[in-house]
């Protein structure tokens, strides 16, 4: 059977490729991505399953699934022009993706089928830093984790509990895959971040409205208190943490799929709104 051998959580901030190129060797995000690249290599994955949130590039407001899965032999990206990130083609694993979708739908998670697609920076910034050779098949599972509408029109996001259970379901499906296979799951996203919204910082297009939430999430992760994290990830909390703070749902799904216990390594950057962590 296939096995989840490890999991990783990280940010996909599209400005980091440029900032890392500009800053010195001790720049914290450079060190964090470097550490996670080592962790991924040490896990020797045959396949990566990545929970991520599209930024209205793969999907749009005319057709916006809550949950979806890419089912194809490969996919290209980033499709949203990320500075210093080349256009890649990532291999995927159509048969396993089909299996995950079938098992998830049977278990009550209606994953929309996505074929012949491209993905944006939410998938390709992590891959750019962790596996730029693009030699590990990647299956993206899309979770709608953004507040896409203004006051009174906020799109519902799936609940944290639902996302955690999705992660558990995907893990069980991986374990029912008949062939031996080493799988690493990744959760891609910010913890507190506002992009172009009402909580941006003066003179900038982004803001970090709730660094204390980042610290609290990091503590829950380090203490392996996932139940508390799920309980506290409420719509009100996500709203106050910024219009893309729902990307934590990708982390929570990843936690549902991960081996339990404290991370083998983690680093929080509360003022940037981000956490990096790895589990074996």
């Amino acid at each position: 059977m296939a096995t989840v051998v490890g999991s990783i959580g990280l940010t996909h901030n599209p400005t980091y490729p440029g900032l890392i190129a500009k800053n010195g060797p001790d720049y914290a995000p450079r060190l964090a991505y470097g550490r996670l690249r080592q962790e991924l290599a040490s896990l020797k994955p045959d396949v990566i399953v990545m929970f991520d949130t599209d930024h209205l590039n793969t999907f749009f407001l005319d057709n916006l699934p809550i949950f979806a899965i890419g089912v194809d032999d490969s996919f290209a990206g980033p499709c949203d022009e990320v500075p210093l990130v080349p256009r890649y083609t990532a291999p995927s694993h159509r048969a396993l993706a089909y299996h995950l979708r079938s098992e998830a739908v049977t278990a009550g998670f209606d994953l929309a089928l996505v074929q012949a697609f491209e993905a944006d920076h939410s998938v390709f910034v992590p891959l750019h830093f962790l596996t730029p050779e693009m030699n590990i098949p990647v299956i993206p599972i899309f979770i709608s984790g953004h507040n896409h509408f203004a006051r009174g029109h906020m799109s519902p996001m799936p609940s944290a509990r639902r996302c955690f259970e999705l992660g558990q379901t995907i893990r069980a499906a991986i374990e029912r895959w008949p062939q031996p296979m080493r799988v690493v799951t990744i959760g891609s996203g910010a913890i507190s971040l506002d992009v172009h919204g009402t909580k941006i910082a003066p003179g900038l297009f982004v803001g970090v409205p709730d660094p204390s939430w980042v610290e609290r999430v990091h503590k829950h992760l380090k203490d392996d208190r996932v139940a508390d994290l799920v309980d506290q990830t409420t719509p009100a909390r996500l709203r106050s943490a910024g219009n893309v703070a729902g990307e934590i749902l990708n982390w929570i799904a990843m936690m549902g799929s991960a081996n339990r216990g404290a991370p083998v390594w983690s680093k929080a950057l509360p003022d940037e709104g981000f956490i990096y962590a790895a589990w074996h």
């Binding site: 006051r151 172009h196 919204g197 009402t198 003066p202 003179g203 900038l204 893309v244």
Partner: protein, 89 residues
């Protein structure tokens, strides 16, 4: 579905460089030629860079920020941020 047309416009100017240039050079003419239907209120709010009103009407902020990133309708990071932060959200 009118708000949806504004969302489409904010996406289109990020993907279509020729369209972006037209909006940068002559926003009024470019808006009058935009093929998706806009209400009079949206038309006025767009031309005056009134992103606070557009946000309250339901326009997607993540998309709308692209107007300021490309300095369309007189917007830049400073004016965009001031108007968005003034919204009681």
């Amino acid at each position: 579905m009118s708000v949806f047309s504004v969302d489409l416009l904010c996406r289109d100017i990020t993907r279509d460089k020729a369209l972006r240039k037209r909006f940068q050079e002559n926003p009024e003419a470019a808006l009058s030629q935009y093929p998706h239907p806009l209400s009079a209120q949206e038309h006025t709010a767009l031309l005056s860079g009134d992103v606070g009103t557009l946000y309250r009407m339901g326009v997607n902020a993540f998309l709308m920020g692209n107007l300021a990133r490309h300095q369309i309708f007189g917007l830049d990071a400073s004016s965009y941020g001031e108007r968005m932060r003034a919204v009681d959200d």
